[in-house]
């Protein structure tokens, strides 16, 4: 399912879809699409070794949480293909990127566009904060800091079984404020878990605003290296840089790619909203109309038709 389209085109498609969705629904995780589009596009279109999807193109409604009696329960991992030894697994640690992830699944042909229409609707599995049963998700990650530990455990287990498939964790930079992130890195290094890969969207934003205004975290790259990871810093919008970065040798250590990104990339209009970028809402219908015209033009599409709220 790889390379039917250029990765750059998929990244543009992700931004367009997330923007369209945000316009029509009166808000959304828009800046995450700006910062992460190339990273998701690269992972799904090039880097991840995934099988054909095992779940229907149009997602099934919510069918209940895991329990001893819910025997037909399954996660949304089937959109990434089967969990076979040769295939890679992806854990999206900041589940708030779900909208970006769903848009990616559509762009790479793993989910129907109708799936996005179910986003955040009651009774839908396409949840706002990605749940285990949401398309493309295999574990819950709405609580930040647990993703890398889970990935490390899964990777250790897969390595022990001799599986060739890797474990990838998509991370966000705000997560480094959680102490568990550092526990995970030191454990992965201590146990030589080198089939563990992470790419971190370093957009310097978190819920309250710019990270520097919330908590100083120091030099993330140096800290990760001190805790035992191999780190490569790249421009988070440079796909060629991602291709090079992943080739970095990292014997008996996890590889973490720090993707320095812009939360306005492709949507310059959002700069006006800084530092409140975590979830973009419209302050007025005028702003919504103005944003629609400006960003549509930047993305090369006609303004989005929406029902005024």
């Amino acid at each position: 399912m790889k390379n039917r389209q250029a990765t750059e085109d998929i990244a543009l498609g992700i931004r367009r879809r997330v923007f369209e969705h945000t316009m029509r629904n009166g808000g959304g995780y828009l800046s995450q699409a700006c910062s992460a589009a190339e990273q998701f596009a690269w992972l799904y279109n090039e880097e991840l070794n995934l099988g054909e999807p095992t779940l229907p193109m149009v997602p099934k409604p919510f069918t209940g949480v895991p329990s001893a009696t819910n025997v037909s329960y399954h996660t949304g991992a089937g959109y990434n293909g089967p969990a076979e030894p040769i295939y890679d697994r992806l854990i999206i640690a900041p589940a708030h990127y779900a909208l970006v992830a769903y848009a990616t699944l559509i762009e790479v042909g793993r989910m129907a566009p109708a799936g996005l229409e179910m986003f955040n609707k009651d009774g839908s599995s396409v949840e706002m904060i990605g749940a285990e049963h949401s398309p493309g998700m295999e574990v819950h990650n709405g609580t930040l800091g647990i993703g890398l530990s889970t990935g490390a455990g899964l990777a250790f287990g897969r390595k022990r079984r001799g599986e060739s498939g890797r474990v990838w964790v998509y991370m966000s930079d705000g997560e480094v404020e959680e102490g568990q992130t550092w526990e995970a890195v030191q454990a992965a290094a201590y146990h030589g878990i080198d089939n563990l890969f992470a790419i971190m969207d370093v957009n310097k934003q978190q819920c309250d605003g710019a990270m520097e205004s919330v908590m100083s975290v120091g030099n993330i790259a140096r800290k990760l290296e001190d805790f035992g990871a191999v780190v490569v810093e790249i421009d988070g919008h440079d796909i060629e840089a991602m291709r090079r970065a992943v080739k970095t040798p990292h014997s008996r250590k996890p590889l973490i790619i720090l993707a320095n990104s812009s939360p306005f990339r492709g949507m310059k209009f959002l700069e006006r909203r800084f530092p409140r970028l975590h979830y973009v809402r419209f302050k007025s219908e005028e702003e919504r109309t103005e944003m629609n015209a400006a960003i549509s033009a930047e993305l090369g599409i006609a303004p989005i038709k929406f029902n005024a709220s």
Binding site: P66, S149, T150, R158, R160, Q180
Partner: protein, 339 residues
């Protein structure tokens, strides 16, 4: 006065039992968070380093890591003090283990006041917390035989399990292994129902002998499976006694087996009188086990007092009477579990 005690003490039953069980089950992994010898797995670490993962003093990562191992099809046994399996890593326990029903076996050592370590080390609210977590199973060991069978019992569960494990020198009270979901019927009297689990069972057995000599007919149940729980069987016992029910637990009286019995009585509308012995909305402090059980009111003598309250009788039982209980009697009464 009755000669040497007949009760058999078993040394480090978990160490032997875990090693035997793990070696027979290749997908069982041994995880530790810097309390390896304290949890009796130091020998296992030394003999089977390829099956042992040291995860350091970092329980949050250990919990999520275990979730990942579960996703890879392994059945990790986590070893640390019970208190460190749910207080610090509660969020990880919920998201990475309980919700997805990973086959993670949480082996919680030093339950309740079995540690002199004081508040930070005493898991006095673990059963309460674990009972409120969907998908969780809870087991508690009360003697060496239960410790010896805890690995197999826990590992039979299709989902996460929290176990209260006794360590060190542990008395052998029972001759049969844990049978999941089955309470042990230690005596079938008709005056009062005594429900115990863990270390309080031995205390109740000690008191029972004296009580029966005073003409009190005690019905005594020992719980090793706390969740899920067969309330129907318990109700039959509740309905079979005249005066009421006493629970005695090495835990807060809120959320543990006292609450479990209270909920059962209330749900059924049975209206039977209930007295709950244990920690009553208080932390404990550091001290020896007998001192703390006495101080906080969940030892043999406290049980006698509770039964006097329930029956509104003075049974004229002194502490010396309890001390004089022949331990042989404790042992032989345990054999009545097959009733």
């Amino acid at each position: 006065m009755w000669g040497k005690p007949m009760i058999v003490m078993v040394t480090r039953p978990y160490a032997t039992a875990f090693e035997k069980y793990a070696l027979a089950n290749p997908d069982v992994l041994c995880l530790s968070a810097d309390l390896t010898s304290s949890c009796e797995i130091d020998g296992f670490r030394d003999r089977h380093p390829d099956r042992f993962l040291s995860l350091g003093m970092a329980e949050q990562n250990m919990m999520s890591f275990a979730g990942g191992l579960g996703l890879a099809g392994y059945r990790p046994f986590l070893h640390t003090f019970g208190v460190f399996l749910y207080r610090r890593p509660y969020d990880q326990l919920m998201a990475c283990v309980a919700y997805p029903r990973r086959k993670v076996r949480l082996m919680g050592f030093l339950p309740g006041i079995t540690t002199p370590g004081g508040m930070t080390h005493q898991a006095i609210d673990d059963i309460s917390v674990m009972r409120s977590i969907p998908n969780m199973t809870i087991l508690e060991t009360g003697d060496a035989t239960e410790v010896e069978s805890i690995c197999e019992a826990a590992d039979s569960i299709d989902g996460p399990v929290y176990c209260r494990v006794l360590r060190g020198s542990v008395p052998r009270l029972f001759s049969t292994s844990i049978r999941m979901g089955e309470m042990r019927e230690l005596s079938l009297g008709s005056d009062v129902l005594v429900v115990t689990s863990g270390i309080t069972t031995e205390e109740a057995m000690r008191a029972r002998d004296v009580l029966e000599k005073r003409g009190v007919s005690v019905r005594h149940l020992h719980l090793n499976t706390i969740k899920p729980f067969n309330t129907e069987a318990l109700l039959d016992h509740i309905n079979a006694v005249r005066y009421g029910v006493i629970t005695m637990e090495n835990h807060l009286t809120v959320g543990g087996i006292g609450s479990l019995v209270a909920e059962t009585i209330a749900d059924a509308g049975s209206g039977k009188r209930l007295l709950r012995l244990g920690l009553r909305d208080t932390y404990a402090h550091g001290g020896s086990r007998p001192y703390l059980m006495r101080f906080y009111g969940f030892d043999a003598f406290s049980l006698v007092g509770g039964i006097e309250t329930l029956m509104r009788q003075n049974l004229a039982i002194s502490e010396d009477d309890l001390k004089a209980v022949r331990l042989e009697a404790v042992h032989s009464s345990a054999k009545a579990e097959g009733l």
